[in-house]
């Protein structure tokens, strides 16, 4: 009797840009323990309570992460932000939500300087980008069609 076998045509080589993913991971691993713990805590809140970071495609996720985390960094640093367009306003809504959550759950933020908060938010942005874009194992991210 002939055994029928089914061959997988793709070995699913993801993430798509392994070098970028490795560089991003190395940068995160190089952070000091306190910063890493703080970034992890902030990432955990986003992952459990937000949906904006999970749009379907790489370009869309980058746009979302930049839009929302960019405004949130300003708000947490005490800088004003006035949305000018409906899209800005939509980002701002999620940014304010993030700002309130972090101020309520991360007491150490109150003791940080503006510059330190901005630097921390930059690391958070890099980590979210890694988890949802460069290091993501989601093969549909680079699909040209929606």
């Amino acid at each position: 009797m002939t055994k029928i076998t089914y061959k997988v045509t793709s070995e699913h080589p993801f993430p798509a840009d392994a070098a970028a993913a490795a560089a991003s991971l190395a940068a995160y691993e190089a952070l000091d323990d306190v910063t890493k713990a703080r970034v992890d805590q902030m990432v955990d809140w986003v992952m459990k309570n937000c949906l904006w970071q999970f749009h379907s495609r790489t370009w869309d996720r980058k746009r979302q992460n930049e839009g929302i985390l960019g405004i949130a960094a300003k708000l947490l640093a005490g800088e004003p932000f006035t949305p000018q367009t409906p899209e800005d306003r939509c980002y701002w809504v999620d940014s304010v939500t993030l700002q309130r959550a972090y101020q309520a759950t991360c007491p150490w933020l109150a003791e940080m300087s503006k510059e330190d908060i901005k630097a921390l938010m930059k690391e958070l942005h890099a980590r979210i980008d890694y988890l949802t874009v460069t290091g993501s194992l989601n093969e549909e991210l680079t699909d040209k069609h929606y």
């Binding site: 993430p15 993913a21 949906l51 999970f54 379907s56 869309d60 304010v96 290091g135 989601n138």
Partner: protein
Amino acid sequence: MPYHEFDCSKCLPERKKHAVTKGTGDNLATALPLGYLNTIPGSISERGCAYCGAKHVIGTPMKDVIHMSHGPVGCTYDTWQTKRYISDNNNFQLKYTFATDVREKHIVFGAEGLLKQNIIEAFKACPDIKRMTIYQTCATALIGDDINAVAAEVMEEMPDVDIFTCNSPGFGGPSQSGGHHKINIAWINDKVGTVEPEITSDYVINYVGEYNIQGDQEVMLDYFTRMGIQVLSTFTGNGTYDGLRAMHRAHLNVLECARSAEYICNELRVRYGIPRLDIDGFGFEPLSQSLRKIGMFFGIEDRAEAIIAEETARWKPELDWYKERLKGKKVCLWPGGSKLWHWAHVIEEEMGVKVVSVYTKFGHQGDMEKGIARCGEDALAIDDPNELEGLEALERLQPDIIFTGKRPGEVAKKMRVPYLNAHAYHNGPYKGFEGWVRFARDIYNGIYSPMHQLSGLDISKDEIPTDRGFVTQRMLSDAHLPEEIAKSESLRRYTGKDDIIADLRKKNPPYFTPIIKAEAAE
């Protein structure tokens, strides 16, 4: 990668990449199963087809429409009534289903004439209904029937009717999700922008990816209306055909089920500049956050806060009564798609249960990313499981209850594992503050039903105890509770009505006068 290989699927080695266990320290870059791929030959999948995804999931909840399947009767029968997407027009879309009854002779000679005859007959049989959707099926797609041409011909002959054609035959994708995509894009291409709505509020939204399962949409509509927000259209539960043609005039798209409806939101953003706000309608905290965000977008957050305060005060003590009794119970979260991520975190937080497994039948890797991100450690995540894998997982995980559809649910019952219907609900709605308590109540009733003890006895061989009565739910659930919790006067069981939707439909909520109209009146 922490793949999980099922013993029953060792003969299908490709299946190994479709299941992972989220271990300590795992994240989305280390643990994610494959997804949205063709089912592996030999694996008996539980998926639906692309026709089902377009018609049954997205199209049919539209309430004032004749939903006509162009194909054999079986296609329409198997996509009829199994999901309780009710409507406030006496459930027209649930009561009737239409098919052109294509047979062998039509496959040989063509079925366009048959389709035209059926369309005209259906409109004559339902004189109050002037809207129709025609769904292509595998058989009529393969013989090349031009449903668009037939629809155009009828619309010319009957100018008071409007017909939408959905070309999503069953083979049009690896699962029903392919059909979601096709009908989203067809609707925005063919119908959005063809009706101009009356705007009655300063705050106008489309409520997208919401299918009014047992009244979910009507619960949320009540909150939005109390905030003074006009819901221009709901895509598609309890939605009207013409309301959905006017989606282009909303200020904001509020999206629930991203898997089934993000496509139309993304297109509305690109074509009409309407932003997309993803929300969760389940659970006290996520729902509160969602209402706040919508309020914030329009500058009316105080109205959202008023609703949150009122609803939380009314229902939180009842949610907490169940939480105390559900703590630590193991659950398998096995719905079809979006509820795996809507519920994964919040049921642990607000009901105290432990999610030991998540699965999706037809979801994409993006759905699994959300699910894995939100569930706790040690959860087993499975993509497109077959029945044997489901059985093996139940034996290994020993859950106290599973949330799934009725087909896998009935299998679980045979293994004496209680199940709740995550698709059509048991006693919904489950959205909203009260709805979330109803969900907790149903979980409690499922886990502590005395039936499960009785079902473990085999009357052909077991000794049947006759010297004692049944153990009640309350005796089971309160056996190990501290007395102050068991007898707490601040906590109470669900006190709502069986049918909460009837009252909502009678409500005349306080509408806020639109600024536009107020200024015109001055």
